[in-house]
């Protein structure tokens, strides 16, 4: 797939933006706009996923071996609950994706959520760096389009 980057890369062709005509430039601009939108969407879904992991991690903090035998209300549906007792509070089941669940003890579970949160932070940083670079290119293109439009007017 076509990529746009301000950093020179071996498999890419370097194009002087000023040599392109207005139509080409606006195509490029809309392509970049699309990509920037995609980045924005990715960032917000990453943020949502991260919040979920953080919440799970915090919930874990309230469970310890003393919680065993305590009463809880288990939701059967969104509006109906039945009483239950906590059992085996040293282990929890974690959804690791693709319908697989793993039993972990509390420390391992906490570590799991910490790792996941950190992983997502790294991914978000990557997307932010990319987005920043692309928006710089977009600004440059907008500037050149305006320049060209002015030239057209004055000539």
């Amino acid at each position: 797939m076509a990529q746009i980057s301000s950093v020179a890369q071996p498999h890419m062709q370097q194009i002087d933006l000023t040599t392109l005509n207005i139509q080409q430039l606006s195509t490029l601009k809309s392509q970049l706009d699309n990509e920037l939108n995609l980045f924005q969407e990715s960032l917000s879904s990453l943020k949502i996923a991260q919040t979920k992991f953080q919440n799970s991690g915090e919930t874990l903090g309230q469970i310890n071996s003393e919680s065993e035998g305590k009463e809880i209300l288990v939701p059967l549906t969104g509006s109906m609950y039945v009483p239950g007792k906590l059992y085996d509070t040293n282990n929890v089941l974690i959804d690791i994706g693709t319908r697989y669940y793993v039993e972990k003890d509390l420390d391992a579970a906490k570590d799991y959520f910490k790792r996941k949160t950190q992983f997502l932070t790294e991914q978000m940083e990557k997307v932010q760096v990319l987005g920043f670079e692309k928006s710089k290119i977009r600004d440059a293109i907008v500037e050149i389009i305006e320049l060209k439009l002015q030239q057209q007017k004055s000539s």
Binding site: I96, G97, T98, Y100, Y101, V102, E103, K104
Partner: protein
């Protein structure tokens, strides 16, 4: 002459748009597969980091069924292989469609040119 070119132009434009739609659809499929592959990779890493006696469950509908760790690993690896193959297949299709689209675009430009010339000619004759 003018009408004939216009008709050709229209049919070429239609097939160009069709190819474009097909391409969009297939690119979407490719993205979904990519996501699935990613998810499986993450699960594989997690499974690999587990002790051999770890308890693993698989959700089948509303119930959790206990699985052997080795079996789970095998299953995920198999799925990753399958998805990778699918991605390769889709990539080939994308390449074919992109070429088709380029061809259509080229002939479209040619036809547009012809159409303009025909119009000029018609205008001169009138």
């Amino acid at each position: 002459m003018c009408e004939e070119v216009q008709r050709k132009l229209q049919s070429e434009l239609d097939s160009f748009k069709n190819t474009q739609k097909e391409l969009q659809k297939i690119v979407l499929t490719r993205q979904q597969l990519d996501g699935q592959l990613n998810e499986n990779e993450i699960v594989k890493v997690e499974l690999d980091s587990l002790a051999t006696d770890a308890k693993v469950f698989k959700s089948v509908g509303p119930v959790l069924i206990k699985t052997e760790l080795a079996e789970a690993k095998q299953n995920v690896t198999k799925r990753m292989d399958y998805i990778s193959k699918e991605i390769k297949r889709i990539d080939d299709q994308i390449a074919v469609l992109e070429k088709k689209q380029d061809n259509h675009r080229e002939s479209l430009q040619k036809l547009q040119h012809q159409f303009q010339q025909a119009q000029v000619k018609a205008a001169m004759q009138a």
